[in-house]
């Protein structure tokens, strides 16, 4: 079993459209949506939920007014400025519990909060594990780890060959949680200066965690000078550009219809994504033999 995670650094470069198409093209796989903040893959795959699981995490301090003597020690020690006038601001509280340990009258308890839900579902393309982090909640990295873990269990149980994970934008906690230990990262970029800048940073994260990477330039024909710049950058880094996908309104039209683009159009976009998936399976089956975590 091999795991490929699709990342981009910059948001909105086309990760989910590409993963949705891989879902339709790949045999023997399970899908994981690791963008737990703003999951969109289910909008293309129309899942029926088989199991919904609560995600309890992220404790928050609660002060018992009756017990509190207003000594102010909790306010002094809190480094997140989460306690003011002997009230806890649950949004600023990082759940460290320092205040609950030092309160001289034990007036502070830590309460676990419901931080989101995750779902195991079936789609016409196979199983999909995805999640919805509660609004303004922390611990997205933990929820990502749960989604990946369950996808792996399903793949092992059913003897499936691939885990395809749709990753979040950025390079921080949920990205690291999506990436570490994966066999391969596909980095989707676009030919804009922002896209190039963000690609360099997310590639740095792949190096840092020892995960081999392939690059896909999406909408490459929107600025061919920038595309050449990305190609020469990738060459200098020894990273292969595995696909160049042209701009086509069909991609958005497919999203509006709730379909993977390869099921909607037979145009060049779909051909490129098909050959990209071939490329990835080759890379997974040959180069990325061992997980690098």
């Amino acid at each position: 079993m091999k795991e490929v995670v699709i990342l981009s650094g910059k948001g909105g470069t086309g990760k989910t459209s590409i993963v949705g198409s891989f879902a339709a093209l790949a045999q023997s796989k399970v899908l994981a949506d690791c963008d737990v903040d703003a999951a969109d893959l289910h909008l293309l795959l129309n899942p029926s939920i088989k199991e919904e699981i609560e995600f309890w995490s992220g404790e928050v301090a609660v002060i018992d007014d009756e017990e509190c003597t207003q000594c102010g020690l909790c306010q002094d020690v809190c480094r997140f400025d989460a306690i003011n006038d002997f009230k806890v601001d649950p949004i600023s509280c990082e759940g460290c519990g320092f205040c609950s340990h030092i309160c001289p009258v034990e007036a502070i308890t830590m309460m676990e909060s419901l931080s989101g839900h995750w779902f195991i579902s079936d789609t016409k393309y196979g199983h999909l594990v995805y999640a919805r982090l509660g609004i303004a909640q922390e611990n997205s990295g933990k929820l990502v780890a749960l989604v990946r873990q369950r996808a792996k269990q399903i793949a092992e149980r059913e003897g499936l060959s691939y885990i395809i994970s749709d990753g979040p934008p950025g390079i921080g906690c949920p990205v690291i949680s999506s990436l570490s230990g994966a066999n391969l990262a596909l980095l989707v970029t676009e030919p804009t200066l922002s896209g190039i800048h963000d690609l360099e940073r997310v590639l740095g994260v792949c190096y840092h965690f020892g995960v081999p990477a392939l690059v896909c330039i999406n909408k490459y024909d929107l600025n061919e000078d920038n595309t050449r710049q990305i190609e020469s950058y990738c060459l200098s880094q020894g990273v292969e550009v595995a696909a160049k996908i042209p701009f086509d309104n069909a991609v958005t039209e497919a999203i509006v219809r709730g379909l993977p683009v390869v099921e909607y159009s037979q145009g060049r976009v779909s051909q490129e994504i098909e050959s990209l998936w071939q490329h990835i399976t080759c890379a997974l089956d040959t180069r990325a033999n061992k997980p690098n975590a």
Binding site: G12, D40, I91, S194, R201, N226
Partner: protein
Amino acid sequence: MIISVASGKGGTGKTLVATSLALSLKERDNVQLLDCDVEEPNDHVFMKPAFTRSEAVSIPVPKVDEEKCTYCGKCAEVCAYNAIAVMKQKVLIFPELCHGCGACSYLCPEKAISEEEKEIGVVESGYSGGVGFVHGTLNIGEAMAPPIIRQVKEHASHEGTVIIDVSPGTSCPVVEAVKDSDFCLLVTEPTPFGLNDLVLAVETVRQLNIPCGIVLNRAGVGDGKTEEYCQKENIPVLLTIPLNTEIAGFYSRGIPLVEGMPQWKVSFLELSDKIREIVNERSSDTER
């Protein structure tokens, strides 16, 4: 006045809106642009600022004096993030999990734990053509953006207009960047992905009790459901930017929209007027 620019979904045009709003407003107000997307900051690509100051951002992580340590395990017990493990004759510290709360050092009965600063990123500040500019950059391989966002926001001026560019999503980095704003602009595109993530972003700013309005980018692509949603939820659409290859071309080359197409300045000034009106109305409502 602090205006944050957020979106839920990535790549909808936050950077385009934040930079063009700052450049349009600078002619009539003191303007500061704070790029709080510290994982992937991009505003500097467009603003090409001259930085005058650079400061490291660090969080305090524990350091154990093994001479004093009795391996009692108290530190591991109080750490909510599993950043300390105590073995028979060894204490292991995982700095990447540490949030720097300070509980372990304070509560160590032997006073064996001190704190040392661990650098996780950098904040740079300077100017770009009359706009005050600050951005933060998270070091590669580091997980925690909020401490850097907090430090960027400490530069916020109390006068004039402060524009905050926010990272995509709805979790802690977004909350950290958006909170304390007077207004939050949500940039979206009229597709099912854009709408799905917009709904989440609206719920987030409502939870923070911040008024919001919409910038509809790439209008013409997708469907009409985003506008229906805004109407139903009574969220004003304050600016519409069409899907246009000329606009996309300037963006791809790192040229702010109002510099490439100065005719857009009027629209961004109107946008800021509408925001000011909403914020003033709201503050007079609360005074009443």
